[in-house]
């Protein structure tokens, strides 16, 4: 005898199935497109690149020569540093240059008061830029200078050049 006494079971079964499938779909498919870790990857890439550029600038190209960075600091030429640093940072193998900007500062120990650190800005008005809340990283390099141009008291010192880099 065919009647509709099984409708209850069918409807309840369909309802349960729809509920489970919907739950599973919701749990699996809610994906967030922007993951916060992307920021750290970009920071890591920028930091490694900045440090590489400073190493290249701080290595003398031939034996018994001064490194270019030592020369720039001793002669107080932030524009030379800016040109070379941005050239290195923005070079790519495909030829389309990157858009990385920077600001730089030199930190050195105050000989008059050895527990104090003094700063000297090393930015250049044409190549370095104002910083407006981009994601930036700090890279730094210890540089030996034979004639600190900012402090006439001491002959030679190790100074720290700190550069803040960001991508425009």
């Amino acid at each position: 005898m065919v009647d509709d006494s099984g409708q209850l079971y069918t409807i309840e079964g369909i309802a349960a199935a729809i509920l489970m499938i919907f739950t599973a779909y919701l749990a699996v498919n809610t994906a967030v497109v922007y993951t916060p870790q992307d920021v750290h990857i970009i920071d890591m890439q920028l930091e490694q690149l900045g440090n590489d550029a400073l190493v290249v600038l701080d290595t003398p190209p031939s034996e018994s020569e001064k490194s270019p960075l030592q020369d720039y600091i001793e002669r107080d030429k932030p524009e030379w540093f800016g040109n070379n640093f941005t050239r290195l940072m923005n070079a790519t193998t495909s030829g389309n240059p990157d858009k990385i900007k920077y600001t730089a500062t030199v930190y050195y120990r105050d000989i008059a008061d050895p527990t104090n650190v003094r700063t000297h800005p090393f930015t250049n008005s044409t190549t370095s830029s104002r910083y407006y809340r981009e994601n930036a990283v700090n890279v730094s390099r210890l540089v030996y200078v034979n004639d600190n141009p900012y402090d006439a008291i001491v002959d030679d010192q190790v100074v720290l050049l700190e550069v803040m880099v960001w991508r425009d």
Binding site: L8, Y9, M44, V55, L142, L160
Partner: protein
């Protein structure tokens, strides 16, 4: 009410139970993701370039004969004040100690 047929309610009940289990599992996965560190963060945290820089500076100064105690003091001071790392070097630069609070590095140069 007593006459209502509740024979098939067990099906829906199972459906509810399974949904609850799925959501519970998703909750566990959500909580577990908060533990641990991404690779990029670990790379940023490890002071590879600072250690390489300190070593390179000391070895270059030593090889060119320019090393003196005031330069070692400069390096130790700047590392502490700007990089937040304790650097300790002996006078002939044969032993380097670096500690930035998370990573410690010790090196003895020479002597095989």
């Amino acid at each position: 009410m007593a006459g209502l047929n509740d024979d098939a309610q067990w099906i829906v009940m199972l459906g509810f139970i399974i949904s609850i289990l799925i959501l519970f599992l998703a909750l566990i996965v959500n909580q577990s993701a908060l533990v641990g560190q991404t690779t990029a963060e670990s790379v940023l945290e490890f002071p590879k370039t600072s250690i390489q820089d300190t070593r390179n500076e000391l070895m270059t100064l030593k090889d060119s004969g320019l090393l003196k105690s005031s330069l070692i003091d400069d390096i130790e001071f700047l590392s502490m004040v700007r990089r937040g790392a304790v650097v300790s070097v002996n006078t002939s630069a044969t032993y380097i100690h670096y500690n930035d609070g998370v990573t410690t590095y010790n090196e003895t140069i020479g002597g095989g």
